[in-house]
Amino acid sequence: MAGAATALGGLRGAARFEANTATRDPAWVKGLVLSLSLGFFLLFLLLPLIAVFVEALRRGWSVYLAALIEPDAVSAIRLTLLTAAIAVPLNLVFGIAAAWTITKFDFRGKQMLITFIDLPFSVSPVIAGLIYVLVFGAQGWFGPWLGEHGIKIIFAVPGIVLATVFVTFPFVARELIPLMQAQGRDEEEAALVLGASGWQMFRKITLPNIKWALLYGVILCNARAMGEFGAVSVVSGHIRGVTNTMPLHVEILYNEYQFAAAFAVASLLALLALVTLAVKTYVEWRASQTAQPGEVP
């Protein structure tokens, strides 16, 4: 959130620098940097995105739609949404709890906790998946017990959800911690002194303060949850119609020479990403408005 506010501040700063001849960059530098970054954007970001949609529609709308309503595809879409629907709320709760613990209390090992929250970012997703195979697999620590009781974790939906929760864990906490640190505990203390209950304080003071950062974290978390490939691939077992998520389904279709269908599902994933981006931009804009009330109409 702090990021969003600075981005806006930066824009105003840029205008000021442009107006002043002493700080203005030569025109050729500006042109070079601009064309470099725009060229990169076109070549590496926009072109592939367009290619996805062009390939998806190459054989016409009927093939495109058929690829999306085919039972295995529907099942993959459903599983992806279900996974996100479980992983995101879980990480919402975990994220708030972790950020609260870190910013409102002092305790030994706090730095270590902060480091551990970042672990899923630094660990390769493949390892994240393998951890669960080693722990819950038939040959793993809890495997025999789970097998006896008929509980399926890996190569089933719970494993996919677990792996997704793991890789998306830092998003919410990482967004909240800097903001809550900057805000300090003063307002909450005031509320308590004035007689608010713990829940009232959280609802009336903390939540409104962190609202936009929280939403931003949730959006990022959701985007990753729907797009995760590596960790999910390890624990999925690739049973079509049962444990394939959308990214895995795209790979399978591609490997089966069904290129139009593969790109159709890929385009749906890309669309979800674009919607996420749009929502994210809206949230950033709202946040900057609440951050500087009165400055922007």
Binding site: R78, L81, E256
Partner: protein, 338 residues
């Protein structure tokens, strides 16, 4: 106002999720999970549909067969780790043996339970080259020449890749004055020409066919036919080496799983169906060599006669071949590290 709106949006989203996630599809019916290797996707699509019809006609029950595909070694590993396969249909016996060695999922004598070493169809290893064979590749020795880009998957994870490797080895042994040393030399020079080592056969096919990398792709015969069928005879051609290996991809019921899931009778029938005339026809139509002599005669034009050696006669069985060539630190590691 905004709070009310977002609450309504939330409710709407929640309803959408529920709708999406609790749609029908969970009514009671027998399901089988067949864990298979990489290039059998099209084969089992055909076979599963035919078997479901057969089972319905015979018992009146509806059976739905789920598929999982990947590199053969990796798939065996998944089953050992708990992927609940009723049947496995892998690329080579060694990977099925792994189910016995780890966790005792099947008995040691599994290969004697069905005819023909439990391999209802066979295949062999051929070369796929670009149309017109611009690099003039004829036989295994040509793959070792400098400047030839070879595509083959990783023998550590792919069953097909192990057949590729052993076929090259058998060819070198078969040459006049062939020895283990000369075989090792030839294979080492072939792998020096390998630019991309994918984890499964289908990944390699994509590398060669779609991405256009490499001069020659050492491939399952079935996979080579399929690439030509899917992507056009005007782009590729199949070359048959002077000697190749008889690949016997075996099938097995996973005893521990079918007893737990009470699916033994349908799983057993599923595999027996391979040995019927219909089953053999499906194999031949999907470019796998049938065992049944009548069906084989019918498709004789499709499958060129090639001198084939077997893993047992040349390498003394999979156990020995695995230890000597593909185990950690064995010959493949030694030649590929260089």
């Amino acid at each position: 106002m905004i709070a009310r709106m977002s609450r309504r949006t939330l409710a709407l989203l929640a309803a959408l999720y529920l709708l999406c996630t609790t749609a029908p599809g969970t009514h009671a019916q027998t399901t089988l999970l067949n864990v298979s290797y990489d290039p059998t996707r099209e084969l089992y699509q055909d076979f599963n549909a035919a078997f479901a019809r057969h089972w319905k006609a015979k018992t009146g029950e509806t059976v739905s067969i789920k598929q999982s595909h990947g590199g053969s070694g990796k798939q065996a590993r998944s089953v050992i780790d708990g992927l609940q396969a009723d049947v496995v249909t892998l690329a080579l016996a060694f990977d099925v043996d792994a189910l016995n060695r780890n966790g005792g999922l099947i008995p040691a004598d599994w290969q004697q339970r069905l005819p023909h070493n439990s391999a209802p169809y066979t295949s062999t290893i051929v070369f796929l080259v670009r149309r017109g064979n611009p690099k003039q590749i004829r036989d295994w020795a040509d793959l070792a020449k400098p400047g030839i880009d070879v595509i083959t998957p990783n023998p550590k994870t792919s069953g097909g890749a192990r057949w590729n490797y052993l076929a090259a080895w058998a060819y070198a042994l078969d040459q006049p004055s062939g020895s283990d040393a000369s075989a090792r030399d030839l294979v080492a020079r072939i792998y020096k020409n390998v630019k991309v080592l994918d984890s499964g056969a289908r990944g390699s096919t994509t590398t060669f066919v779609e991405r256009g990398i490499g001069d020659v792709f050492i491939s399952w015969e079935s996979e080579a036919f399929l690439a030509i069928k899917e992507l056009g005879a005007d782009k590729f051609e199949i070359l048959i080496p002077s000697l190749s290996i008889l690949a016997e991809p075996p099938v097995a019921v996973v005893d521990k799983m079918v007893d737990k899931r009470k699916t033994r009778s349908v799983a057993t029938e599923y595999l027996h169906y391979w040995y019927t005339t219909e089953g053999q026809e499906i194999a031949a139509r999907n470019f796998y060599r049938p065992r049944d002599p009548v069906v084989a005669a019918k498709y004789a034009k499709q499958f060129v006669n090639v001198r084939l050696v077997t893993i047992d006669t040349v390498f003394g069985g999979w156990d020995k071949a695995q230890r000597m060539h593909f185990a950690d630190g064995a010959i493949f590691d030694q030649i590929y590290a260089k």
